[in-house]
Subunit: 233 residues, 2 copies
Amino acid sequence: MRRAVVLLSGGIDSSTTLAIAKSENYAVTALSFAYGQRHKSELAAAKSLAQDLGVTDHYVVNIDLRVFGKSALTDDIPVPIHRSHEEMARDIAPTYVPARNTIFLAYAISLAEVREADDIFIGVNALDYGGYPDCRPEYLNAFQNMARLATARCVNGDHSLRINAPLLNKTKSEIIRIGFDLGVDFAKTVTCYQANEDGLACGQCDACILRRQGFEINGLIDPTRYVGPKQIT
Amino acid sequence: MRRAVVLLSGGIDSSTTLAIAKSENYAVTALSFAYGQRHKSELAAAKSLAQDLGVTDHYVVNIDLRVFGKSALTDDIPVPIHRSHEEMARDIAPTYVPARNTIFLAYAISLAEVREADDIFIGVNALDYGGYPDCRPEYLNAFQNMARLATARCVNGDHSLRINAPLLNKTKSEIIRIGFDLGVDFAKTVTCYQANEDGLACGQCDACILRRQGFEINGLIDPTRYVGPKQIT
């Protein structure tokens, strides 16, 4: 049985990616990260979603990205709200965490070596979040090239590492359709950049706006629970 | 003034690398990692060596590599002792930590983004530790290629990241000569793979053997303090 390490944050994209890996009959090790002061509810979601999908091998690594500061996801910078698609596309959002995916993927290749996995799955997509440099195909290709030179299993063994990003060119609505068809329980997923400890969403940040629109396009009910009245621009 | 992030473990190689970066007039941010149950004395050495070289910006990141196990440096696997150069060169040593340098360098590029540094220095060398895949030039080149695609500063700004490994092709004796000439206080450096909490060395592991021979070739006194009688093969 082929083994894969799947990065799982507890959002729609990573949960759908996990469901894809399971549907392709991989034996899965899920890998989540506890970092910064936000997103604790995401981690609870990740644990529950992994259980739902029959994943018993789930690592949670504590990392402190706050030491590097400079992001609305880990620091006291406000999360931007009520932004249009044009505004989202214009600049790198302040929710960008420097080299976050590189740190996450570095841990993933370490775990892949120990677990004897040839495949890593990551739920990045280049369309909705075009502003993040580490969500682009050229970045992922370069990481894969590096990873194949980095570990004993690849260099001395008869193995190769693949970085799989099955959602890379999907829109949010396409991702929601795939996850829905694979039975992901979206009521558990946490998308909001500033969800509270119970996983209640703000309804106003980029992530909330893109999620809501993705459900609407599919004619699906978004089971997100909100902190207060939604104000979708 | 050019700024650099320098990975500093507290051993001879990283201390000499730090001295090289300082001699090239970089404003330096030192980056060390606390991991596993060993090497606490290395971290104390790193702090003292950074102070000696006038580095006031020194980050220590806690990471738990033990979750990934499978290494004599982080787990309960014995450190091999009394090995010849031939034995060291034959296989990847059990002191190999899967993807360690990739994780370290991933944090370094994150910190480089925040500190607005274009240069990262790492004290790896490919000769004495040929068995580690992530100490080879082809690995470092691939990492640099990836890093240039990973961060906003490189992708959207007018900057590029360089991974500098000035000791890559040096022997241990050459490194000791360089560090000596740059005034590194080798009495503070901790080399041993299984140094105790006070930094006392075993005198028997690969790292101790290579260090001692490096000092001998230079006709220098090795100021290493040992736990017990030295048994150099």
